[in-house]
Symmetry: D2
Subunit: 348 residues, 4 copies
């Protein structure tokens, strides 16, 4: 940490800073400049807030040197985190594909989608049963009924299921059904939820908030990792900017930046990142070309009848095309799409 | 709702749109233009998602006409919502002042602050006991111990207390202590939490999310109102933009925009909106000049020892100055700061 | 300047950094930390780019200590810059009001507006004759004809005129007519234009770009000041954010931030900052309450017939109301609106 | 255009709207809804401003139906624009690579870079001689001397040269030297400059402004096209957002969105879009995977000695790697990098 004094600082103020640095167990090194002085505070300092130093009299600014996240940092853990989910491995050379509808709407809808995406090459099935909707007047999800349909889809297809959790009160119910807990963008900083999920040993898919910085995403991952859960996947899903021609702005830079800063697997959600079915496939290709470890994509058998996100949901035949194009890019990158197990269930 | 067809739409596609409009109980009116056709769908349609129409073949875009919020709309309820909190009234002519530390840190800290802000003219005491912290390694709040200290401060000063709730699991405990529940920026779209708070009859102070639009803020208020809770205060607290010279960018436009769109009281938090004690007072003045109904301000007896938000916390003597300046602006606006009850407790 | 080495830096890399620091005429002071080393480079270093240091091998990051602007800095020049424009003084205790139409459209339109805003208390007349329009198919301004009408308005009312310059090729023509050159938001970083204006001795009204940081605004002012022109007024006019309910987001924080960082006068344009006539007056009040030294406001005798910006132009009678409300806020701030000279021309 | 009336509109106000619609040569079609009425205005209406309608009494909002740009629209011109630059073709199946230093610094620097990028497969040489620098104290470019060195580099390598123009006063000088005029981000809305460039018959590389919407970029292209210049290349180079871990945020969505909206070629500048040499290659790959027609990349023989943009400039050997990786992605997309002519000059 580096503390820059104001140009007109007094010796007493400098002493105050030195004392505070020492009080935090750090060693101060002072450099006197032309206009000001700077104090470098050396030692272990992991509390991310610089407030106790910024508020001191005579201080102009405080600059952090070390990263505020530890467990997720590639400096601390240089090797990629690679871990299995039921049937495939994430974070290694393989590209993983998660696909399915925004909301589970009915038994037939989810079963039909599951078989379709499985045949197209998907490794996991996504589907929401508790829906975070902007309006209280919108469809809020099927709840446990939806979980049962998802379980049936898993049994028939062999795919693990990825489901969003919105509240710790849903945890107990969901634990029996869910393979991967998704934390949605709006809950990225729901720290109570993160803390309880950090205590589970289920894989967590943590989506970046609409206006969360990359550093904040890594700090939220730190809540999960600090609980002992090492199976954390990060997901870029578009950020909010001034541009209105797409629902969100895909921060494609976040892919190589995250791969540089952290050892955790990084995937992209081209459905939310664009909000438009016409742009999902090009952005899916771009994500893999930028180095992403996988994709999570919305697929619906009949988007015009979807209760939510129809505009950004691929029809199954379009999903097949997307997979084929993504496969070509993956191969150009020297990677491949994760292979799928032989289908578990013959009948349907 | 207006549905614009693509320039090369087919008659079949137009018929499909007309059928879907009718299926939603709306009446279609078609206008044939030079390049395209538009379908105006007339009738009651309050589901905010336009997805079912946007995904239809041949549709270029869908534009909403009516507001997606109802209960909070000034169109529906033209008069200001005015309601009492213990000791004062919000939403009327009076300006209300809520003040106190970011976090309750100790009994003496909160009691000292409470008396100081009361003497300066504050109407309510704020203080956090469950803290949403970016880092798992930061102080997370005193929990119930903090609530007890707040209750004691209320007893001594007569001020109602404003406390942030982060999760519905905290509700039962807090109900016994808290007068006003604050929903923080990070939880503005924690819909599960909003739903349970909508069922209480406590006043809710709903803060705008860092990157929430004004419309989204009103939709979140709708969750509270739809539960039957009519005592909702909206709070602008700065949004996230590209500008880094302040912690957030105060969206001062939001004050007159909200006063125009909704009947609910609107206040501003100049502490978070600037993040810097040097800018709190000018922005507090600006808020009142723009038409805000009150302020919520961070005050700490010794900011350099605050466990959180020290940099943006006013010392009590600076808060007195702020109140005096705000009073002058309020009077120029033909308003006044809400009067305080005579102090309840003589001793301390 | 502080240079932070990467955790795994080599002694050779550190020596390379030290050599580069010395090559720039600066003195290096090295501090060895637990994970890294930092080099403080002491001395005069005003080139704003940190690139020559950031690219060195082994360097993690480079942080600036001193401000990149000099002539505009309040550190260098602690007193407010106060200077006269024809008939009034800007930057002192008085609030100045500039008003007029977006575009000069006809002789009668500008004369009518000039008299109306003068009677309402305006100190200067604004009006555009070269218009930066997003579309090549829109009205582009009256050019010299418009300048002649403005000169006539000045003669009749005694008000100096404020006109936007878009290109250095317009300078020679405009010099004969214009009292204050306005540099519009889109030209804030048109450095060629800034350089030639810095060589004039006319007052320059420099508007902040839509997505310019406060520091960038001050760097653009530096171009003007470096040319020897000390009569520079800064103007906040709203920035571009994700919020769409107003045309721009008024960065009200910029007012106290700028007043803190620079000695130059700071005004606000509530017309562009909101884009909506319903919000101009509240934001004008807020600007003065936040400490602005003046306002520039669009006024049009018949907004529904304006060729540009009609939606954000006040009718003269609404401008009178705005001035009255602003006057009350100015008085609450211990300031007053700059007095106007007796009208020069009796007849019209 | 669709005009939505306020809920409490009067018959007189509706008549006023109808009259104004007719006055603009459009035909009004009225639909009476439950709460309001809407007026669809049918006919040719290409002036992009909706102001004359928005300001009418009783009007709630006005929504555009047709695109405000014409000449650049794919609706009007469905086929890709494909045109030759000296030695290669842009906008067709081939991917074009433009590379070179941010600034021309010396004869040897530009000649060395030119040969290096040519050998690596670049099609055109970029290099700035007039530099738009945030600070007046920074290097501002070599001017005509730099143009002469570029001309020599062209002669030796056969590559056309791409140079930024900042002002119409530079045009005459540059016309003799330059093959492709680059309009930088800060000048995207310098309409005077666009207009004079539209009258040339040189290829224009138009960069998107930092905070320009995609629609605004297309409107600026319209200035060029309206002058009769059909050789316009659009360039995404990153937008300004809240994220600070990269210099800008690459709006990768803009690639497929632009390819959908316009027939003009679209390229990406991964150097400015990331600002960091570590991220240039992944984002270059992503751009091609998303469908871009080319790249413009900063390359410098010794980035640590570059006078500008050293941090984001690839060394020649890293550029070779980038080209190889981009080639693999291009082939996966069924495209190839544009072939280069045999070297013109043997000696150097």
């Amino acid at each position: 940490m580096i503390i820059v004094m104001k140009p007109n600082y007094t010796p007493q103020q400098l002493e105050g800073v030195i004392a505070t640095v020492k009080a935090h167990g750090l060693t101060p090194h002072i450099t006197y400049g032309v206009e000001t002085a700077i104090v470098a505070a050396v030692g272990e300092f992991h509390v991310p807030s610089l407030d106790p130093f910024e508020v001191l009299d005579g201080v102009e600014s405080v600059k952090r040197i070390s990263q505020p996240f530890k467990l997720g940092s590639r400096q601390v853990h240089p090797e990629n985190s690679v871990f299995p989910i039921d049937g495939f491995t994430v974070g290694g050379d393989d590209i993983v594909l998660m696909a399915g509808p925004c909301s589970v709407e009915s038994r037939s809808q989810i079963l039909e989608t599951a078989h379709a995406v499985r045949e197209a090459g998907a490794n996991a099935l996504r589907g929401g049963v508790f829906k975070p909707r902007t309006s209280p007047y919108s469809f809020q999800g099927l709840g446990e009924e939806g979980l049962k349909y998802l379980a049936e889809a898993r049994e028939q297809t062999g795919m693990p299921i990825v489901v969003e959790i919105m509240s710790q009160t849903q945890l107990e119910l969901m634990l029996d059904y869910v393979d991967v807990f998704q934390v949605g963008a709006r809950n990225m900083q729901n720290f109570n939820l993160l803390r309880v999920l950090g205590e589970t040993r289920k894989t967590i898919l943590l989506k970046r908030g609409l206006s969360a910085t990359i550093e904040e995403l890594l700090m939220s991952a730190e809540y999960l990792l600090a609980g002992g859960n090492k199976q954390v996947i990060l997901c870029e899903r578009g950020i909010r900017t001034f541009e209105t021609s797409t629902r969100n702005t895909t921060d494609i830079n976040a892919i190589p930046v995250l791969k540089n800063l952290t050892h955790l697997p990084v995937i992209l959600d081209p459905s939310h990142a664009t909000g438009d079915v016409n742009y999902v496939t090009p952005i899916a290709r771009a994500a893999i070309a930028a180095g992403a470890d996988g994709l999570i994509v919305e697929v619906h058998p009949e988007p015009s009848k979807a209760v939510s996100d129809g505009k950004q949901s691929l029809k199954p035949e379009k999903f097949v095309e997307m997979v084929n194009q993504v496969r070509a890019i993956a191969e150009a990158m020297g990677r491949k799409i994760a292979p799928i197990k032989k289908s578990v269930s013959a009948g349907w």
